[in-house]
Amino acid sequence: MNSKTRELILSLNNNKPARKINIMEVCGTHTMAISRYGLRQLIPENINLISGPGCPVCVTPAGDIDWIMEIMEQYEISLFTFGDMLRVPGTRSSLYGKRSEGKDINICYSPSDALDFARKNPVKKVIFLAIGFETTIPLTAVIVKRAYLEKINNFYIFNTHKLIPEALELLVNDREIKIDAFLCPGHVSVIIGSKPYGFLAKNYGIPCVISGFEPEDILQSIAMILEQIKKETAEIEIQYRRVVKEEGNPAAVRLIYEIFDKSDSTWRGLGNISGSGLKLKDRFLKFDAGTQFPVKKIRSGEPAGCECGNVLKGIKRPFECRLFSKTCKPESPVGTCMVSREGSCAAYYKYERKHKNIKSDTKNLYKNR
């Protein structure tokens, strides 16, 4: 821990807020950093850091996994996606299970890998399982546009992309949780900038700070949030100015809406959120795997006893799920929040199990140093 981090922790502890403050982070990498550095244990007890739906893998509903697996079952497909998606449980199995049955399922580093494969193998039907928030959506937009311009006829996307600000609005309107402020995601904001969060401050009076990922970034962002609360203001501030610009990446945003229109989308745990998803515009529909490979939808359900839904909404902590670290572990996950390395349950499992009941002790230890 460097001296700046130490100073920030001391300052937060010396300027403890007068009331309990709930700050939600909506980025899996923030969740990981908070757990990894034990930040929850180092800040005042009445600052409650809650993990929200910040991991795209975690918010993918079982229905989407069931749907793509049904497509794989009924058609001869080469599927490409990011690694963690293979382990996401559907109702009956996972893509990993399908791969061990001999289906052609490939992990890619970049969405371009899927398009390259389609280009080189014109007789194969290639689907890219497109997942991710605004950070990743422009990448999918690039490859769809490229496939369109190059007239590639054997390439498709199975689109599960989701938009963050719309989900945040659902959360602030949820009666079960009270969110006082958001720690907004750094890399989503690289693309969208700070303006799309504006309604949270303006309409709901919620302070938002776009934060970097290092411990001092997160601590400084918390200090900025507390300062807004103290002054009774609500603004969208950027702490991560090294990387995030107010306007974001306008070229990337323009491209997203050249290819996609906003649509509704179903989030695991949060249900259907109006305007939180994207669908290909009509002229690109020939690349839509869902339309091009029709299947009869199977009845989907979430695993019994799994609390991922409540964990994703910040209503429950991973410890409060009775499956946590018993039947649900990183090597044999039941729910998505344990599947992704950046899921709340995986982060708590790896770093915070030892802190389960000793939050105040840890903080006192630090203060006595």
Partner: protein, 74 residues
């Protein structure tokens, strides 16, 4: 999932570029960052540059990600 790591552009070839990141050379797509030049620093997400970034910031951020990724792989 949304990881994005700083990289230095070594050579540009139309829509792609060779970059150096964490000591490794890679080919990435630069179509989302129009106007970047050789020697510029960008942050890279899943094989695509998504934003330009100052050299000093890139170097400081890179160290953090190196440590982060090393730990994730172990």
């Amino acid at each position: 999932m949304c990881l994005a790591i700083p990289a230095k552009i070594i050579k540009i070839n139309k829509k792609t570029a060779t970059v150096e990141t964490l000591g490794v050379k890679k080919e990435i797509d630069i179509s989302l960052v129009p106007g970047v030049r050789t020697g510029d620093f960008v942050i890279v997400h899943a094989g695509f540059a998504i934003q330009s970034i100052d050299k000093e910031d890139a170097v400081s951020i890179q160290n953090y990600w190196k440590e982060y990724l090393d730990e994730q792989q172990n």
